[in-house]
């Protein structure tokens, strides 16, 4: 479950006050809003990259408000993928497991699982340089899912893709989310993407979050 309760955040001169939303366990939540509406700020607060000035964030059964982002157990796919240019795709999928000192055979198995799930088996030994937009986002998604997080946060992950790739990536995201059962919060300004993916659809406008689907 992702539960945002009466959250207030300040980012420079920008301010979000007293917003709430809940995505139940195992469901796909989409937060839709225009550029500059504060949706990324909210996502960053869930991730712990930004401090909440008021309110609570609960992930699963755990109140993570004020908790270090490293121990929140949230997978993160940023807009541009933010791949590590010096690492191979395999290293990306391996990275979080390496940090957790997971034994080698288990790492290898997990990498193979993820590569198959995302259809990137043939990219494992390549570096990000030269990967297509869709491939980059698959790698970023694999990296975020590698440590089997309870929650996945996606920040406009498909905005840099062409229409065909976007449709295919939407199907992949939906498929992967169903297979892994990871509670997901996806932020986008694209209505079509939101309609396709959302079990729970929220719209942010003028600093207010309104639940669109299912109607509350």
């Amino acid at each position: 479950m992702i539960q945002i309760e009466n959250l207030s955040v300040r980012a420079g001169d920008f301010r979000i006050q007293n917003v709430s939303l809940t995505v139940p366990s195992g469901r796909y939540g989409v937060l839709m809003g225009k550029t500059g509406s504060g949706k990324t700020t909210i996502l960053e607060t869930v991730l712990g990259l930004r401090d909440a000035s008021m309110g609570r964030i609960v992930l699963g059964d755990l109140d993570v408000t004020g908790l270090n982002p490293a121990v929140r157990g949230v997978g993160y796919v940023p807009q541009d993928g933010a791949l590590f240019s010096s690492m191979t795709v395999r290293d990306h999928l391996d990275f979080a497991l390496m940090i957790r000192k997971t034994p080698k055979p288990a790492c290898q198995q997990r990498v193979e699982e993820l590569a198959e799930l995302l259809g990137i088996e043939n990219l494992l030994d390549r570096k990000p340089h030269g990967l297509s937009g869709g491939e980059r986002q698959r790698v970023a998604l694999g990296r975020a899912l590698s440590f089997q997080p309870k929650v996945l946060c996606l920040d406009e992950p498909l905005s840099a893709l062409d229409d065909d790739t976007r449709v295919r990536m939407c199907d992949l995201l939906s498929d992967v989310q169903k297979k892994t059962g990871t509670t997901t919060l996806h932020v986008t300004h694209n209505r079509d993407e939101a309609e396709r993916l959302a079990d729970y659809l929220f719209r942010i406008r003028d600093g207010q979050i309104q639940q669109v689907r299912p109607e509350s």
Partner: protein, 314 residues
């Protein structure tokens, strides 16, 4: 509503032009030939202005080489030596055979490398903090870091000398001032500022999201820095090292004051040029200058090669 006649509201901002349709714009239309000539003049001017500097640099190097060649062949004609003796009797080989120059070359290589390594070690954390964090006094710190760049080199040497009059520096002054460590310290004082600037620019260009992602994956700040940011900054680190090394090689003013110009002790290549010029041996001075040029070129090529290899792997 019905009383209002249909108006051209959409064209309201340009009523005159819309009324007259395709009215000619006042003045002359630009002609293709004029634009062509103007562009040609523009580039010609820029190439000439920029090229002047390149001609100056290459000209200096060619003049050095020509001078040495002339001196080498002067020796052949005046002393009646064979053409093959060029290899053993030329200003560079004569300079290289000199024990004092040999000492100077070694000290230069070692001190420049040490000062560049220390500069990079300091520049990485400093560049990171300035690039990634906002804190009180950041602008002041930025200005302080420019001091070694804008200060006259002699003043840096003098200031170092004065600094070692005061404790705690005074306690180690005997082992530093006019000794070999002073050479490294004088070179480092200036070179580090350039390395910090380079590292800051490097970190500025690396997407901070990469670190954010690493942290959400379970990294501490140090782990994110070591595993993600540092490998991304590899080329910047190499550039900072090269710049600091080259800067150290060219350092002279602070060395003269803070280290002295004692032969076989604190003499580095730039000091050698000065000392040879002082005794009127221009041939030797030019030869040592040429050795410096070659050393700088070798370091530049090496770092470029390492850098481009790394890039090719990516």
């Amino acid at each position: 509503m019905s009383s209002t006649p249909p108006t051209s509201e959409g064209h309201g901002s340009f009523p005159e032009s819309s009324a007259e349709g395709h009215a000619p714009a006042p003045g002359r239309e630009p002609s293709a030939s004029q634009i062509g000539i103007s562009n040609a003049v523009f580039y010609a001017l820029f190439v000439v202005m920029g090229g002047t500097y390149v001609v100056l640099i290459v000209g200096m190097l060619i003049a050095d080489a020509a001078y040495m060649t002339e001196k080498t062949f002067d020796g052949i004609t005046s002393e009646g030596r064979s053409l093959l003796s060029v290899i053993s009797h030329n200003p560079i080989s004569t300079a290289l055979a000199d024990k004092r120059i040999q000492h100077s070359i070694w000290l230069s290589l070692i001190s420049c490398t040490m000062s560049a390594v220390i500069s990079v070690m300091i520049a990485i954390p400093m560049g990171y903090l300035i690039s990634r964090h906002d804190f009180r006094g950041k602008r002041l710190l930025d200005a302080v870091l420019d001091i070694p760049i804008v200060l006259p080199p002699l003043v840096i040497g003098l200031s170092l000398l004065i600094l070692f009059q005061f404790p705690p520096f005074r306690w180690i002054a005997r082992d530093v001032v006019y000794q070999v460590p002073s050479v490294v310290l004088a070179q480092f004082s200036v070179a580090c500022a350039f390395a910090v600037r380079t590292m800051k620019a490097t970190f500025d260009h690396i997407n901070p999201r990469c670190e954010d992602v690493a942290i959400t994956l379970g990294c501490s700040r140090a782990q994110a820095f070591g595993w993600v940011l540092l490998p991304e900054a590899e080329r910047g680190i190499l550039t900072a090292f090269t710049l600091a090394w080259a800067r150290s090689l060219g350092e002279f003013g602070p060395l003269l004051i803070f280290s002295g110009a004692t032969r076989m002790k604190t003499e580095v290549l730039s000091t050698s040029v000065f000392l040879e010029m002082n005794v009127g041996d221009i041939e030797a001075a030019v030869a040592v200058s040429f050795i410096m040029v070659m050393a700088a070129v070798v370091v530049l090529i090496l770092t470029r090669m390492i850098g481009s290899n790394h890039h090719a792997i990516q």
